[in-house]
């Protein structure tokens, strides 16, 4: 779907909610919000509140007419350019495109051989994971296609230096490190992989973090290693019978609800989107704000990427100050807002019984905040892991298979899975 189509739909429908758009175009919520925000910024649409929902409507007048005319012209120009592109001529002559894997990626020999049938492969997959943008450009300068394992942020400046690039496949589900608007302007197609490659890994990891917090497994084993053995320090708590709240919904919510219910946990979801249907998650209703902060034992914090939400995905003062009943907080996402100082204070006060995050802010050595932020690592019931929630043998196999399948599909001319 492109934005002209969405604009046309909003014009014809005389106003639609996010839920209506998702239903019409069968897109993810994140993608819909992204396109709506672009249209809002360009003053092509307006939003207003209608009873309990937000409705988007196309503007009228010269602005929108000018926009349609400019888009039509742009499409006509692009078509001329495509016909002239040497790379398309190369493909039509049966020549292979150049595929570059610029950073560490766990590809099997078999997978590489499959890719070599369709591409000239330039392979840096046994090198480092993270690159600077300059290193990235140096390695991918002649690439027609890139298999990007989150090497670095892909900005307009980077794309300017890659004149041949026509397609970038991202080996991740999340793609906020890529400037999608810049990719569109540079006519670079982009694909990612669906969440399902890691859904089991994530839901199992969330439960394992929960067990580790509730039963203090790590400090108990550390105690034994140090030569002491006293069970009285470690009176844990059982998971069965606890009340868990999941903040926000995302692709993995259904799996998590099922896993927790099978362990005898009472599960509820807090969402700020009134169009969500609790029945999808096997629930009869969603939780109220009072309920979540006054009676829950466990918080699982999702990331929806929606900056318009008040509480979802944000572990800031606004969220944390509302905690009444002491809770454990578990999350595997890289939230944009986490107030570690506030969390530390609440741990001291007993309002937060423990946290398990798979993320930690990138605070450089020499930054005066580093020592303050790092203090939380040494509190007794704090587990911080280095982005391993998704990382299992099975998810790596799934990720690689999907990546290879999409690259092969592109080489064969199939573009049904592309994001843009």
């Amino acid at each position: 779907m492109n934005e002209i189509t969405l604009l046309k739909y909003l014009k014809n429908s005389r106003g639609s909610s996010i839920y209506d758009i998702i239903k019409e175009f069968k897109l993810s919520r994140t993608a819909v919000i992204y396109h709506l925000n672009n249209l809002l910024k360009s003053n092509l649409i307006t939003s207003y509140k209608q009873s309990r929902k937000i409705v988007y409507i196309a503007n009228t007048g010269d602005t929108i007419n000018d926009y349609f005319n400019s888009q039509i012209k742009s499409l006509q120009d692009n078509l001329k350019e495509i016909n002239n592109l040497d790379i398309v001529k190369r493909r039509s002559r049966g020549q292979k495109l150049n595929l570059v894997i610029p950073n560490y990626f766990d590809l099997t020999l078999n997978s590489k051989n499959i890719l070599k049938k369709y591409y000239n492969l330039v392979d840096y997959s046994d090198t480092q994971l993270y690159l600077t943008q300059d290193e990235f450009v140096n390695r991918t300068r002649d690439a027609d296609v890139i298999l990007n394992n989150w090497a670095c942020d892909i900005t307009a400046d980077v794309l300017d230096k890659l004149p041949n690039l026509q397609y970038m496949h991202l080996s991740t589900h999340m793609y906020r490190y890529v400037d999608i608007g810049a990719c569109k302007k540079h006519s670079v197609r982009v694909s990612n992989i669906p969440y399902s490659y890691k859904s089991i890994a994530i839901s199992e990891f969330l439960i394992s973090q929960t067990f580790a917090l509730l039963r203090q497994t790590i400090p108990a084993s550390t105690q034994v290693q140090s030569g002491v053995s006293d069970f009285r320090f470690f009176k844990g708590s059982q998971l069965r019978g606890k009340k868990a709240i999941i903040f926000g919904v995302d692709d993995g919510t259904k799996d998590l609800v099922q896993s927790l219910k099978s362990l005898g946990v009472e599960v509820s979801i807090y969402t700020e989107d009134k169009n969500e249907n609790p029945a999808i998650y096997g629930l009869s209703r969603f939780a109220s704000k009072f309920e979540v902060f006054n009676s829950a034992d466990l918080f699982y914090v999702s990331w929806t990427g929606d900056e318009n939400k008040a509480l979802i995905g944000k572990l800031n003062h606004n969220f944390l100050d509302q905690i009444v009943n002491p809770v454990y907080i578990i999350s595997v996402f890289k939230h944009k807002e986490i107030d570690f100082d506030c969390i530390r204070e609440l741990i001291y006060l007993g309002k937060i019984k423990g946290i398990a995050f798979d993320y930690f802010p990138d605070v450089s050595i020499g930054d005066s905040r580093a020592s303050e932020v790092s203090k939380i690592l040494y509190l007794p019931n704090v587990i911080i892991t280095p982005d391993i929630a998704w990382y299992t043998q099975d998810s790596v196999i799934n990720m690689n298979k999907t990546s290879v399948d999409r690259l092969v599909a592109y080489a064969k001319g199939d573009d049904s899975y592309l994001l843009i």
């Binding site: 199992e204 039963r215 059982q238 280095p386």
Partner: protein, 324 residues
Amino acid sequence: MIFTSIDIPFVKKTYFDQIRNISQISKIITYPDSPVNNFEVIRRIGTSDIITQDIFVNINKNIIDSSPNLKAIFCQSVGYDNIDHVYAKSKGIKVYNCPGFNANAVAEFAFSLITSLFRKIPSAQSHVKSGGWMYRYFEGNELMGKTVGIIGYGHVGSRISQISKGYGLKVLVTLHDSTKKIASNYVDNIVSLNKLLQKSDIVILAVPLTKDTLHLIGKTEIGLMKTTSILVNVSRHTVVDEYALASSLIHHKIFGAALDLMITEPFNVKNYSVEIQEMVNLPNVIVTPHIAGVSKESSVTLGNMFVQNIKNYLNGDLTNCINL
């Protein structure tokens, strides 16, 4: 009757207050510390009619013979292997335990150990604390689709099988009595011990300590396990030959192990051989200080069951009496 707790009580004081209110109990004696030797145990029992003690205090033949008034022993635990219950029975002394009070706590803790091992959480946490941030060192394993072998199917084993099904695990069980049938939706197959060891990705021990289960898992049995498998022991430590296990882990015969108890308790790793010390510090081994059954919820269940056992005994009810 005189009721004496000859060791530091495991149950909370509030439960002793409930016992105090029982009309047949004329006196309760408690001690703030553990007895240092058998003489002290005998002295503390004195003329008591009923006693309770910790699992680390052995009530052997000598102590029983030296306690002429003793009529009943109440365990604050599931296990009673510290009591010569056979000899106690011959002397008309009833022994009561608290079966199943901590089954859920133990089962959940077994999965805490399994998931911590499979996802390498302790070593990942340690890596972050030392300043690292490299996910590549911690490739984990998922549970879904794997096979769990449960040795023993009592309260703990059955709860483990229920949790296993929630994870999508295939469940194999081996029983001491091979003719016994289990009617359960949570068990896929009942197999022999050897077959269970050969087929399982996760082997969990959930058996009481008896003469049949002593060193049930030794070098030969570990040799049958897959090199990618893990062993989890939430039974008594002597069910596993820990020296054989240490050697197997050091030589990578199996992937990892998690033990909630060690050779003797309280356990001080520094008192043991180099191999045991090396095993305890391996990144693929977790040893915890006998905390599987310790939770706030199980403490409440234990306290209630303990008081009820005393009331039952005084009323002639033999529920939870293990040496009928």
